[in-house]
């Protein structure tokens, strides 16, 4: 989620993100293996692959920071801690609590929770010679917090992933249901619709994924024309349980032809009590 704010709050967000990253990097207990190869929405590209979090795995995304520089020197910024859990085979659920530091127009800022986001992701099949991997994702954004939306929104996304020897291609299409936001309501970052393609190049011996993508989206307000965006980024596995990602995006059309930057970390772990083994420590 992104909200308009000043340079001051953008810097503050950046410092929060760095602090969270440092804390995560300092964590000594690492239980399980993250997966740089399978991408998540916004980490670093908006276009994601068709695979869910592994069964029984938790993926804690603690420093999902985004900063967008718009025209006329204004900034949008957001910090969205999330946790995903592989609840069923090829299925994960995710909860995110976006934090926003928003410019209220008179030079001061206000901060708060900007909604509660629940997601469910289901991978329909594993990629084979004849079929791409297919996935479905549902996002529900609840009106929670001072900076949250004015009503509940639900979005549905379809995803396809095809792997070639040289690269991997992902196609995403998303639609958000519900009426337009009321006049004067907080801005909702969910698009009315979104369609895009991304290409990954994997460097397996370095555990590094390079990605680039293109997408078009229309805002929920519908009055505006769709904007076209390009983005690029990487995912890098620093240890079996820790992952870094970063990305850069640019809006090519529309009134706000700005640049955006994302940075995130992921820590993976599991809870033994949720696994099908009874005895032991």
């Amino acid at each position: 989620m992104k909200y308009e704010c000043s340079r001051v709050c953008a810097r503050r967000l950046l410092s929060h993100a760095i602090m969270a990253t440092t804390m995560t990097l300092g964590a000594s207990t690492a239980f399980a293996q993250t997966d740089y190869y399978n991408t998540d929405a916004g980490r670093p590209l908006l276009i994601e692959d068709a695979y869910a979090t592994e069964r029984y795995a938790f993926e804690l995304k603690v420093a999902s920071f985004s900063l967008e520089r718009l025209s006329r020197g204004r900034y949008n910024a957001g910090l969205e801690p999330e946790i995903a859990y592989g609840i069923l085979p090829r299925t994960h659920v995710e909860i995110g609590l976006p934090l926003a530091f928003a410019d209220i127009g008179d030079g001061s800022t206000r901060s708060g929770i900007a909604g509660l986001e629940l997601s469910a992701f289901h991978n329909l099949n594993v990629e084979t010679r004849t079929l791409p991997a297919l996935g479905l994702r549902t996002d529900v954004l609840f009106p929670v917090g001072a900076l949250g939306p004015d009503r509940t929104y639900m979005a549905l996304k379809g995803i396809a992933t095809r792997t070639f020897s040289a690269a991997r291609i992902h196609v995403n299409g998303q639609y958000t249901f519900g009426s337009d936001p009321a006049e004067g309501a907080n801005h909702v970052e969910l698009p009315r619709w979104l369609g895009g393609v991304a290409v990954d190049k994997t460097l397996p011996l370095k555990s590094l994924l390079l990605s680039a993508g293109f997408f078009a989206k229309q805002s929920l307000e519908r009055a505006e024309d769709p904007d076209y965006n390009v983005e690029a980024g990487f995912r890098y596995q620093t240890s079996p349980s820790f992952l870094l990602d970063a990305g850069l995006g640019h809006t090519l059309t529309g009134p706000e032809r700005g640049w955006s930057f994302t940075f995130g970390t992921t820590l993976a772990f599991a809870a033994r009590s949720l696994m099908p083994v009874r005895s032991g420590r």
Binding site: A30, F31, A32, Q33, D35, Y36, Y37, E54, R55, Y56, A57, G86, P89, R90, N123, L124, N125, V126, E127, T128, R129, T130, L131, P132, A160, T161, R162, T163, F164, S165, I169, V171, G173, R192, W193, G195, V197, T202, P204, L205, K206, S207, A216, Q218, D225, P226, Q237, S239, P240, S241, F269, A270, A271, R272, M275, P276, V277, S279, G280, R281
Partner: protein, 403 residues
């Protein structure tokens, strides 16, 4: 849908076109629908302990992942390529570069064996699940905070967790060699690629061979020494390929008898795992298996390795078979549990035993203690003897070292 017009319409059409491109061949789509899935391994305080305590050996296993993956990818995508692609180009890359500078973290094999992963994702997942078991048992036995009873209990938990995935778990019933050697495609791989086959068997030798020093070592230092010696022995196998390599598939009970006795189920699982590795190599390499039958044959073999009924023998029969003398002179049966055996396991040039401290240090070194490094380290301490060791002890039965 008044918004499905203009730009949106064009985007949807574009997306549909891309999806159509992605779905390459829908004629046999029904036969290719696969719903296998990944699952996390069992969490515990022992996680990643082998990585922390034995980094050099742990990194080697990351490199092994590459060797397995590139083998299947080359066999499947370049069936008519000259043997030198695997026997020279890939082999040289693996042994001269990759194994000497192994990756930091376990590899994503799907990014290496791209086409093979799409051919038989179910079989790929079976291997990954069993490799997880391998690594987790190393972790348990590398954790010096656990006593033996706790280690046994945890290994029991690991086996229980492993077998909870019926769709992936190898059988705990021994399979006869007919399953590997009696099929119409059998031995196709090793006949055409003896050197790479030897490399894979050397991998498998080390994968099971490391259990023995971990289990039989009575202290942390002994375990460290034993693991270094086993790794050194692995390197020795690669010195004169394929002559120095195992000539039959390493069997767990022969390589790691203490481990096989303690955890017979795990030993059989690993034998079945390694055997299926060879079978898939044969299926992919054999011209007798048409390209459009590769997947079916792989899945058929995978099913046989999972079930408890086909191609089975009793455990007593398996023990008798493995004790057959043919295994003994050709495999390196003992992995060290005592300084004497440790010395026997080292390369011949290193049979003057190095100080335990040096070996321990080497095991902790982030770079692999290659034979060259080891030799250099020993050379810096000429004439050094470890108290209690004699030259006779160190050179006892050298034929087992060098065949």
């Amino acid at each position: 849908m008044r918004y499905v017009t203009g730009t949106l319409g064009r985007i949807l059409m574009l997306s549909a076109g891309v999806i159509a491109l992605l779905a390459v061949d829908s004629r046999s789509a029904a036969a290719q629908w696969s719903t296998t899935y990944e699952q996390f391994y069992l969490p515990g305080s022992f996680n990643w302990e082998f990585r922390r305590s034995y980094p050099a050996a742990d990194k080697l296993f990351n490199a092994f992942d590459y060797g397995h993956a590139i083998l299947y990818e080359r066999l499947y995508t370049q069936p008519n390529a000259p043997a030198s692609v695997l026997e020279e180009k890939e082999y040289d890359f693996i042994t001269r570069k990759l194994l000497r500078n192994p990756p930091r973290v376990p590899l994503e094999e799907a990014a290496i064996e791209v086409q093979y992963a799409k051919l038989a994702p179910e079989a790929k997942m079976m291997f990954e699940w069993a490799h997880l078991l391998h690594r987790q048992i190393y972790d348990v036995w590398a954790d010096e905070r656990l006593n033996v009873a706790e280690k046994d209990r945890l290994v029991g938990d690991l086996l229980s967790y492993y077998r909870s995935r019926k769709d992936l778990a190898f059988s705990t019933v021994p399979k006869t060699m007919d399953l590997m050697e009696g099929q119409y495609y059998a031995t196709a791989f090793r006949e055409r690629y003896p050197k790479f086959n030897g490399l894979i068997w050397a991998y498998h030798w080390l994968q099971v061979g490391l259990y023995e020093p971990l289990i039989r070592g009575e202290s942390s230092a002994e375990r460290q020494t034993g693991v270094v010696a086993a790794v050194a022995r692995f390197w020795q196998m690669l010195e004169s390929p394929p002559d120095g390599m195992p000539v039959i598939m390493p069997m767990t009970a022969a390589i790691s008898p203490a481990f096989a006795e303690r955890y017979p189920d795990a030993a059989i699982i690993f034998d079945n795992l390694h055997s299926m590795h060879d079978v898939i190599s044969d299926i992919l390499a054999s011209p007798k298996v048409p390209r459009n039958r590769k997947r079916a044959e792989i899945l058929k073999a995978a099913g046989r390795y999972r079930d408890d009924t086909s191609f089975v023998m009793t455990r007593a029969e398996a023990r008798r078979w493995i004790s057959c003398p043919i295994f003994r002179p050709r495999l390196w049966l003992a992995v060290p549990s005592t300084p004497e055996i440790t010395a026997r396991m080292l390369p011949r040039q290193l049979q003057h035993p190095p100080p335990r401290r040096l070996l321990t240090c080497m095991a902790r070194h982030p770079r692999l203690p290659s034979r060259r490094h080891t030799r250099m380290a020993i050379r810096r301490r000429p004439g050094r003897r470890w108290p209690g060791w004699t030259t006779a002890q160190c050179t006892r039965k050298p034929s087992r070292l060098t065949r």
